[in-house]
Amino acid sequence: MNPETTKTKLNKLADVLQDDLIVLLCAPTHDRLTNYTSDLLENLPTLKRPTNVRKFTEPLTYESLLQELAIEPETDVAVVFWGHGDAFSLLGPPVDPKSKEKSRFYDATFINSGPKYMLAFCCSAAVGLSRLFDARTDRVFIGFDREIGFILRGSVYAEWWKKVVHSCAEAMLNCKDVEDLRTTVQDVYKSALSAFQPGAKPHRYGLLMRAYLRGQLEGIDFVRT
């Protein structure tokens, strides 16, 4: 989408909703996992806020995205990132297509630029990035302290991944305190686990779906300052 069109749309939406929070759905697209997750993110149900979906196949940074969308420094931003990550970074497409080294969409160098809310739906970001958020005031962070897994086939799995991410994002934006946040997110994971219980309708990948959901539930970390 043309950045100017996006900017106009966002501003219009913000005017209509009289909201100074913009949600950025950040979807790197460069391998099987991110092709899958970026499609799901693109089709996420509404979060009832001005929202911009940004798929990117080339390296992009958080700050360049803010510039691209002409988001003012005083505007609150919520980032929902779904892709690869490590302890201190949300990762993007490789810097060089021939190299395995991934670019960094977000790392410690951007912490002073925000965002106010971050859902890092990727591996390990809660090991390090969460602590940077914890050291600042008025921030919310959700992420995982370990490697996480996904089932990449089948609409039933896709629908549940979308539901989990959407619920986490909604909880991040709306919950009043960290306990509320934790309970809301745990509830959606419990619902997902129930849907794939052995006694329920059999699912081809049910065992590993449960294991991956359980791993995410055990490794999810919440920060609200």
Binding site: R32, G149, A211
Partner: protein, 267 residues
Amino acid sequence: MTFSAVMAPSIVIRPKMLIIDDDGKFLAKADEFFTDLGFDVKTVPTPEAAEKLLKEGNEYQIVLTDVNFDRLSRIAGHDFVMDNPSLFGKAKCVVISAGEWFTKERRQQLQDAGISFADKTRLESRVMQISKEENEKWEKDIKQVIELETIPRIQGMMGRRVTVAVGGTAAAIAPAPAPALRLRPSVPEPLMVRLKRTLIQWLKTRGDLDDPVFAYGEKDYSANELISEVETESDVGFEHILMLYREFEYSLEIEAYEPGNDEDETE
């Protein structure tokens, strides 16, 4: 209780950081911040105090020093680290400036000596960047010591097996995800054989075995690829074996069970 908890207790070794600064408030804040990040932090107010400490034994991976100590010391922080390389050994030194400007020549000298500098306000990101680089080297060295010396000694003391995670929370500073150097719990061979066989059988019955259905960590896997990871007990394979065991544990519904609230009572 998880499988690993049953098998072995965990001990975390934290990287050591020395901070030299005469500003008590900064020291308190930096101590708290880097401790939270997983460092084992020691603070001293002057280069003289640091010298005394380092001579007693240098176990530090990172040393941060202020430039100016006002009335407490005449030694400038950057001179202290430049003039005493033997004192710091393999520790990575970072000079923290609070508005002081080094000449171009001095900057070059510091750089040539492998000494970094950072503004106080940008300290945390600079330290993290340095730590990432240093941690890789440090982990390789320490892993050998741990495997050959520390683990046998601790096991001797405790009379049981232990696992050791190098870095622990501070693996935050490692570029790879935290479990990279986590030594595995030992699994009795008969149990491991059965778990592997069960998981492989499950994977073999999932339809198209070459379709990349699973994603875990950085990669995606077909059933055949995951079978290979399980067979060779790679990190990913081992994680999946543990997952299978955990699912077995959860299937017992131990926590959810309430006596008197089951169908048996109504029979």
